[in-house]
Symmetry: C2
Subunit: 212 residues, 2 copies
């Protein structure tokens, strides 16, 4: 893991994954090098912003040459922890949970899904994309002492708060929250990212109907 | 469509879909009424915040009784435009696009997916969950003059900016953006919601590795 020397502004952290996926796109298109101007255009920021953003993490690129796409991709992947051994579980195996297990490029982003947990009798004991599905009552035993740090939450909104309390007590500290409930934690060791993609569609529609 | 009387604060618009899904959860559990305190607990806000939020849209609830779950659910559904005839297309039919077509509860949220557009020869002419898949070159003809206002963008990051320009010129004004590129528009008639769920996982991991 590459650690930045200074505190990195939130907006830079926000853009880091965007740099990563832009560079991955370029790499897949066999582009070998990219100027800060070209990268800026893809990122919809200025080229000086690109240079400033990247300077938080080291010296990348050469004057007159730009950036080597593969090298910068690997460096940002390192910064993001993509080449580490990141373990995650999925809690909630409804349609969304199953779609995530079937379609999300976990491995490509450096994540291993160890297991998924649900409650419907019909799916307990089966597997989706090779990932075993257990009953949620087995969570504590499964997670304790393992190196799983992150839980993806795809269970019903009204159940999420109760489960999160338990998961924190089992040692899970990262929550990738797909429920429509915004989660927050006062514990500085607990990190939460709220996704809410159904809500974002409803919000889009509302904002279109009430342009303000 | 119910229109609010005053400009509604962004935070209230943000919470509206959360109210909707909390109430839908309660309704599905056959809960008939809910107090502002109970609703506040589910929403992780104060009960006076709940009353203030809802007051932007009308008079709901009765002192000593609370809110009738079904009535409030329908009212908020109305405010969000869920019972209208909302039409959407999906642009990009890779794994994510297909997962969206297969699993996302469009109908439940008041949306009809008219068609999906991709480029891979293998899928053009086929359908996913009954939704026809056309070649992206047919977008203009398909969209022009139709009442489709929203496009879900699930295509590769590096292609999104070019396509959006075209879609705006065809009359699409709402973008539900799943690519890792943050989109923005100066046009006051264009509304964008960025979802970025792969980025949010990478950001979660980064924030856990560099607690700050």
């Amino acid at each position: 893991m590459i650690s930045p020397k200074h505190t990195v502004p939130k907006a830079v952290i926000w853009r880091l994954p965007c740099y990563y996926s832009c560079l991955r796109d370029l790499y897949q298109k066999e582009v070998e090098r990219v100027s800060s101007e070209e990268l800026a255009k893809l990122m919809v920021v200025t080229s000086s912003q690109v240079r400033l953003d990247l300077s938080y993490f080291g010296h990348f690129g050469q004057k007159g040459y730009g950036y080597n796409v593969r090298q910068l991709l690997i460096s940002i992947g390192n910064i993001l922890g993509i080449y580490e051994d990141n373990h995650i579980i999925v809690v909630g195996v409804g349609k969304l949970g199953r779609a995530l297990l079937q379609s999300f490029p976990f491995l490509q982003l450096g994540f291993t899904v160890d297991a998924a947990f649900g409650t419907s009798p019909g799916i307990i004991g089966s597997s989706v994309s090779g990932i075993p599905i257990y009953h949620i009552s087995g969570l504590e035993e499964y997670v304790t002492g393992q190196k799983i740090r992150i839980a993806a939450l795809t269970l019903p909104t009204s159940e999420v708060q109760g489960i999160v309390k338990h998961l924190i007590s089992y040692g899970i500290t990262g929550f990738w929250n797909f429920t429509s409930m915004d989660l927050a934690s006062d514990d500085p060791l607990v990190t939460i990212e709220n996704v809410h993609f159904a809500n974002s569609l409803l919000r889009l529609n509302y904002r279109m109907n009430h342009l303000q």
